[in-house]
Amino acid sequence: MKHLITLFTIAFLIGCSSSTSPVDDGLENQIFHFGNGSEPQGIDPHIVTGVPEHHILISLCEGLTIPNAFGDGNLPGAAESWQISDDGKEYIFNLRQNGKWSNGDELTAADFVWSWKRILTASLGSQYPDMLYYLVGASEYHTGLIDDFNKVGVKAIDKYTLKVTLKAPTPFFIGMLSHYSTWPVHKDTVLKHGSIDDRNGEWTRPGNFVCNGAFNLKSWELNNRIVVEKNPNYWDSSSVRLNQIHYYPVSNVMTEDRMFRAGQLHVTSTLPSQKCPVYIEENNPDLRIDPYMGTYFYRLNTNNPVLKDVRVRKALAYAIDRKLLVEKVTKCGQIPAYSFTPPGSNGYQPDTSIPFDPDLAKELLNDAGYSEENSFPKLEILFNTNEDHRKVALAIQQMWQQNLGITVELVNQDWKVYLSREMVGDFQVSRAGWIGDYEDPNTFLDLMRPNRGNNKTGWENADYDSLLAKANSTNNQGERYRLLNEAENILIDNMPIIPLYTYVRNYQLSSDVKGYNPHILDHHHPKFIYLERD
């Protein structure tokens, strides 16, 4: 016992003696401590699929364009400038002549051609090849219909000129280039450690990794920390002020909150939902609530005999008080959604509406044949295990109970079971969320087209489909948005999905961090970020 007390005291003293927190220390050495949510699957831009991976990759590799932290649209990245042909199908990218890989090699157009070939190589098993399907011959190459990559619409005209040919004028093509699936990888490095389609190649290990971004991979401790350091070979390295970024895969939101408060993190990936109203009330200066291009919605299985009837679906939608939901349940600045596409996405304003009208809802239910004698069967809401989903589901369960008199059962399953049930249509109502891949309403509306893997509701509408096809074949933004709006109206009129609210990005950001501006897709290029205390 005596020894234990001594041990304890010593330990305490050791603890007390060092009082600079990582945040203080980071200020001096320009080290940015980043809370990143979960251990990244990897850092191969052609294999990974998540958001934590994006935050790391954006510091390591650079695509043709980079996100604009101070306004709309994209800024030049690896490409200095670009020209689009009049018919909108041909893009010429002029790459920087001083572009380099982190090992000093020159970055050329051929690198992009090889990289896009890699992601379109079926045996690699990339989950995002469809980002490039807009190119001529791309989907054919990927699905094996053609096997000559020369027939695909990307060519290196000369050392620094890249020509891209699209199937149809795709107005959002430039926006799509911010997605890491279109970023380049260093051919020699990849091939040195495996073949072009080797998923398990070790080229991404620290020491091997080569890419063209503002930072380079220094160390990677699994489930602990990833460190990247400034890349002197980056074409714009003189503008980069940070020396290192430390990424922490903190999966528990309460732990992350505590780490931020203890000065161990400069920025968190999210916020515990019960802390948000408290921080709002006390005017916490570190609280950030940024607009985010995402929609939280419920999928309805239109193949289900009860949900087949559009009146039932509309009744369910009209019986939800969205304002109450965001004010009393989610409580962090979310916005009630009355359309599927978040309003304001690149200037798009849908004019759809969903009233909160319990009487109308009950009437619709009666019209559909449900009443005292023929009572509405029990409905199941499927969602994956998560505090916030649980709260929303509970609130909606009560709303449907009170406003429609129907019984609802909540089924929460672990993530994989939830995914597999949604995939095979084994659900009635299922919770869902979608974040835009690029800044254009098409990233949402495309989801609900027939035969889309992400549709999952079984809803198909030929008019909707043709409207979207037409909209994507014109470059006239006004005309496009008119067509998209029409499609959106069809969607809301049929209600295969019930939009609930538009996401916001809520997180904590230390006041030492400058240049980390709100971005609608939450892309923050690290070359604009630096640490300074007022």
Partner: protein, 307 residues
């Protein structure tokens, strides 16, 4: 005893094989695969992925391939983390969890045995009630409450200890070890009290006291040997349970241990990782159970198997 030790070690092999085989088929049964993602995977891509990981072969073929790999020491690549092998990941997480478990057990034994023995000796007095009451609290307070509470007090309010990490900031090993160890300390306290009480009432103790031996002599030389048998029996599964149960502490304190890998692998359906860590933990459990059985035998020669 050596022969028993060797015999049990040999028996461990079929045990581990059984665990591996059962687990293999168990994980394949659970719905949801390693490549299911929020953004739906096209059937084409899924086929390619399954191909790359030999998931298109028949169950039996996969089983045979996997088991022969194991026998050669190859646990396969992680399904979730391309480019990482399971052995590599286990090698990263293991030392951390081991260290955490070691400190926790140390704290648990120190606090638990001393308070349990004390309580037994001073039965029905305050020195019995108070340590046992604290022990009760240790049992009632789950780690997911103890951890955040300690962090709140020492990390956020008093600011003398770090809030997370293992080996990154000075003093960051203290709170997690206490959190994990305290619950076990409580169990050990109660078990040792119970065991000691059993022993203290036996005739040979009365004899020893009558002979005039000092209390300290009686307790340490004679009573504890038998009285701590329940503790020793408990230690085997406790240590093994610590390794797996450290998941909660590792999550709260952001510790890169094997417990987190294990649970996350289960939720990600990272088949090879699940199998690898299961076999590994199993081996640990068998080993520690064996050690604790042997220790119990050694402490009480009479409990050795007659046949």
């Amino acid at each position: 005893m050596i022969s028993i030790f060797i015999k049990r070690l040999l028996l461990a092999i079929p045990v581990l094989l059984a665990v591996a085989s059962l687990t293999f088929f168990l994980v394949k049964l659970a719905p949801g695969g390693p490549f299911d993602a929020d953004k739906a995977v096209s059937p084409q891509v899924l086929k390619n992925l399954n191909e790359a990981y030999n998931l298109n072969a028949s169950e039996w073929e996969q089983y045979v391939a996997y088991m022969s790999g194991i026998l050669q020491g190859d646990f396969g690549p992680s399904f979730r983390f391309p480019g990482r092998s399971v052995s590599e990941m286990i090698a990263t997480g293991l030392p951390v969890t081991f260290e955490l478990a070691f400190y926790a057990i140390l704290i648990a034994l120190l606090i638990g045995v001393s308070s349990g023995v004390l309580a037994a000796l001073k039965r029905n007095t305050y020195l019995d009630f108070i340590p046992m009451a604290i022990a009760m609290i240790g049992i009632c307070v789950p780690t997911f409450l103890m951890g955040p509470l300690l962090v709140l007090i020492f990390g956020i309010n008093l600011e003398i200890l770090p809030v997370s990490g293992w080996g990154q900031l000075p003093g960051d090993k203290i709170l997690p070890s206490i959190t994990l160890g305290f619950a076990y300390a409580a169990y050990i306290a109660r078990l040792s009290r119970g065991g000691m009480l059993e022993v203290l009432n036996q005739d040979f103790i009365r004899t020893a006291r009558a002979k005039g031996l000092t209390e300290k002599n009686v307790v340490i030389k004679h009573a504890m040997q038998g009285g701590l048998i329940p503790v020793v029996s408990f230690l085997g599964p406790a240590i093994a349970g610590l390794l797996a149960g450290s998941f909660v502490v590792e999550t709260i304190f952001q510790i890169p241990g094997l417990g987190r890998f294990y649970v996350e692998a289960a939720f990600n359906r990272d088949y090879t990782m699940i199998l690898g860590t299961t076999i590994f933990f199993s081996a640990m459990i068998v080993f520690f159970n064996l050690l604790s059985d042997l220790a119990a035998m050694w402490l009480n020669p009479r409990s050795r198997d007659n046949s």
